[in-house]
């Protein structure tokens, strides 16, 4: 790709409305020219117009192909998807807050607990035998085990929370998904829509959760040894683990959404 085509793409993205207007003008000029010629050939204005429209064929499809030729389609579509989902999220505060808090709590608690368990269960074992004997570590170990159990529970709860929220989301949007499919969205598009929404919420949740976890682990700092309260590996691993879990929790509702029959969905209220 050379510089001039990059510039053209940039122009296509930034001056979208201007290009849209030009595309309209170009097509309109063609139609009017055709109508003029038809009238010169002896048609009535109404017939001339009808014949010109018929000869032109599917104008919207031609326009779409012209837009595609400029090569900004996917990027522009993604931008539109993002603004749309942000608008929807801003419109339903309560829903957004519940989802983000569920995720943040799940992730925050998990990160904090796993940091702690990691410090005690895993790293503290890298000791010589003497040290092991010298240290009476049964008590912290017991705590660690308990924490690990809690962490597992928290993970499970977070998963159920995400699953419930995503399933609810799919149900409330059944009608909209039906409209999208009737207008030509494929099962893949719908799947991407639902999973994409879930993952956006997950990312917000992860960010808040990580912030909360950093605060929380500072409190537990006294209980940790051999590992820092803000061990980056733990944080990254937990974030990834929960994102993966969130993906799985979105997967089932998304698959269900992709299987929606548009005919049924359109009548669904």
């Amino acid at each position: 790709m050379n510089l001039s085509s990059l510039l053209r793409r940039w122009r296509a993205l930034v001056h979208k409305s201007q290009l849209e207007a030009e595309l309209d003008d170009e097509m309109r000029f063609h139609l009017e020219r055709d109508i003029e010629q038809n009238i010169q050939n002896g048609m009535t204005p109404a017939d001339a117009r009808y014949a010109a429209l018929k000869a032109f064929g599917a104008m919207d499809q031609s326009k779409e192909e012209c837009r595609d030729a400029r090569g900004v389609g996917p990027l522009e579509n993604t931008l539109r998807d993002i603004t749309y989902s942000l608008r929807v999220l801003l419109k339903s505060y309560a829903f957004t807050i519940v989802v983000v808090l569920t995720l943040a709590l799940g992730i925050g608690a998990n990160t904090a607990i796993f940091s702690f368990a990691n410090g005690i269960l895993l790293l503290s074992q890298v000791l010589t035998m003497d040290e092991v004997v010298a240290r009476s570590i049964w008590q912290p170990r017991l705590y660690a085990m308990l924490f690990a159990v809690f962490a597992g529970g928290a993970l499970l709860l977070a998963l159920i929370g995400i699953y419930g929220v995503m399933a609810f989301l799919v149900q409330t949007r059944t009608h909209e998904i039906g409209v999208r499919m009737a207008l030509g969205a494929t099962a893949r598009d719908v799947f991407k829509l639902i999973v994409g929404r879930g993952m956006k919420l997950t990312i917000i949740g992860v960010l808040i959760g990580v912030a909360g976890a950093i605060a929380l682990t500072r409190l537990m700092h006294s209980l940790l040894f051999n590992t820092s309260a803000t061990d980056p590996i733990t944080f990254v691993a937990i974030s990834l683990l929960l994102s993966l879990a969130a993906f799985l929790a979105c997967y089932l509702p998304a698959r269900r959404a992709a299987k929606i029959d548009p005919l049924v969905a359109l009548r669904y209220e």
């Binding site: 170009e26 097509m27 000029f29 020219r33 032109f56 064929g57 104008m59 499809q61 030729a69």
Partner: protein, 112 residues
């Protein structure tokens, strides 16, 4: 690749060659290009707007042609396309390819 896809690709390539050739002597708007293809080919070839405009925009996106808005002969503003330097080069290559191709077909038709 199925035979239908090959036919479509072939047609698309031919249309591009015809557009480049028509624009090599003067700049034209979409409607003029359609008329000229039909008239010059003695009504044998015709192109629909649905094929022509996407092809024009593709050529423009590839930098082979460039567009300006100016008055047309019916006193309305129209988008006129003209050949760029790269377009001129592309026309030469495609033209040679086409001549080689049609000469080969011709040979087989005559002598086989």
């Amino acid at each position: 690749m199925t035979s239908k896809q090959t036919a479509d690709l072939f047609k698309q390539g031919t249309l591009e060659l015809l557009i480049l050739r028509l624009l090599s002597s003067t700049s034209l708007n979409g409607w003029d290009i359609m008329q000229r293809i039909q008239l010059t080919s003695g009504d044998v070839l015709s192109v629909t707007p649905g094929a022509l405009y996407p092809a024009l925009h593709r050529l423009e996106a590839r930098g082979l042609i460039s567009a300006t808005w100016r008055q047309s002969d019916n006193n309305r503003k129209a988008k006129f396309y003209g050949l760029t330097a790269r377009g001129r080069k592309q026309l030469e290559t495609q033209r040679k390819e086409w001549e080689r191709f049609s000469a080969a077909v011709e040979l087989i038709l005559r002598d086989a």
